[in-house]
Amino acid sequence: MKEETVKLIVILLGVASTLGIYSILYKENKVFRFFEHLYLGLAAGYSISAAWNDILRPQWWTLMMIEGRWWMLFAIPAAMMFYMIYSKQNSWMSRLIFGLFLGATAGQTFQAFAADYFPKFRTAASKAVMDLPEVNQPGAYGLTPFSAALNNVLFMVILASVMTYFFFSFEQKGKVIPSVSKFGRYTLMVAFGALFGSTIMARMSLLIGRMYFLIHDFVQVQLLHMQ
């Protein structure tokens, strides 16, 4: 096949699958169902190939058979333990290998926690209020000392009230705590609204990408031969 023919078929397949998937927007139908199963099949095939091409071959097979690290063979019995779930008597062995993964994940949590949260604790704990210089650093939006201080106080108030909202070990009653936690809930709503609003742009960008494919790559270039 000529390269151009291949390219054309690739684009036609792309158009068909795009329209096929979009058809679910009208309602669930046979075309969608076809593409859904096609997709699941391709995805499964892709996972298998990726597992071999990107992981098993370079990190296992090559090391074992070409570089001669024969002890890599022990990966097979270890991995077999996953499959012991299908054995009535020895299904406990799948939990043994699972335990290894579980422990490894748990052990890494300490480092992840320290790396993720310590800088945040520090930021929160070192918000200045007094003696702020006129800040003009990137991201500081050229704040005056007064507004920077105000914003930093607000930061603490929001942080504290949202955290209060998430305390579970006592009944939230009395005068102060319920209103603090209510304020926390309201600021959460502001935050979620903001997240929603700012995500719209990302999702629209995706749609623009797809529409550009349909309009430019398919209609304008392939059908109308525009460049």
């Binding site: 955290m163 209060t164 070990s169």
Partner: protein, 269 residues
């Protein structure tokens, strides 16, 4: 931070000790209180609705691999499955990460066993779908549209596909409860689901649903740690105000001049 600094060692060990201590205290029979969490109370209601309507329930443990978040999701799903099994409602659970399949199948089938309904469990109900994000979403969307579930429960790590799943379930009129530590997805769950479990309510869920001493103890421990963090941070804030930035030094990792060094205001040029 590639390796712990001294403050990090101390703080992490204190945090861990507080949690483990409360867990052990709870296991020894210390009485513990947990306040009402509305989103979690809704789980029973949703299962009840599914029973009334005589249609199935969809569980999803999200897109995580073998990690803390997904194991917690699995624990929540197991609780839901056992409630559903008691009423004899069918539960289906599409799985994302193959390595989780045995453990999920095991958990759900043991939930059925506990309810005395092991006959109702079919291993096809916990099935692997795909470990490709959107193939999984397409598969779940298809399942929802065809099976017309009465209730869907989405717990675990979610990314963009959250809305595809939640909107499709909304179209078929399912009652939906969702919970995720992926904070960015919460607004979409709020828009499409009936009840949303926010933030670390997610980690409180199993404690709340089962009232197991271990879990309750852990939750109380977490609460104490959070209060400790809040107090420390506040203290640091006040000390900074008084020009004694103690806490700043305490959490210091390594001097990090990157921001100021490259900031044009201070003149790298």
């Amino acid at each position: 931070m590639n390796h712990a600094t001294w403050p990090a060692r101390v703080i992490l060990i204190v945090i861990s000790a507080v949690i483990v201590w409360t867990v052990i205290a709870a296991q020894r029979g210390k009485k513990l209180f947990i306040r009402r969490i509305p989103g979690l109370t809704a789980i029973d209601e949703a299962v009840g609705r599914a029973v009334e309507m005589g249609r199935g329930i969809l569980l999803s443990s999200g897109l995580g691999g073998i990690d803390v978040v997904t194991l917690q999701a699995l624990a929540i799903c197991t609780n839901i499955a056992s409630a559903a099994a008691r009423y004899g409602t069918k539960v289906q659970m599409p799985i994302y990460e193959a390595a989780l399949l045995p453990i999920a199948e095991d958990a759900i089938s043991s939930a059925y066993n506990k309810a005395g309904r092991s006959d109702a469990f079919s291993s096809d109900d916990v099935r692997y779908l795909s470990n490709q994000q959107f193939a999984y979403a397409a598969g779940v969307a298809g399942m929802i549209q065809r099976e017309q579930y009465a209730a869907t429960f989405l717990f675990g790590t979610f990314f963009a596909e959250s809305l595809i799943m939640a909107e499709n379930a909304n179209m078929v009129g399912a009652i939906q409860v969702a919970g995720t530590p992926s904070t960015t997805q919460i607004p979409f769950f709020i828009a499409s689901c009936d009840y949303v479990i926010i933030g670390d309510e997610y980690y409180a869920a199993t404690a709340y649903l089962t009232r197991q001493p271990t879990l309750l103890g852990s939750m109380i421990g977490q609460d104490r740690v959070k209060i400790g963090i809040l107090v420390t941070v506040m203290l640091g804030f006040l000390l900074t105000m008084a020009k004694m930035p103690l806490v700043k030094n305490l959490f210091e990792d390594k001097d990090m001049p990157a921001a100021s060094y490259y900031s044009p205001a201070k003149g790298g040029k």
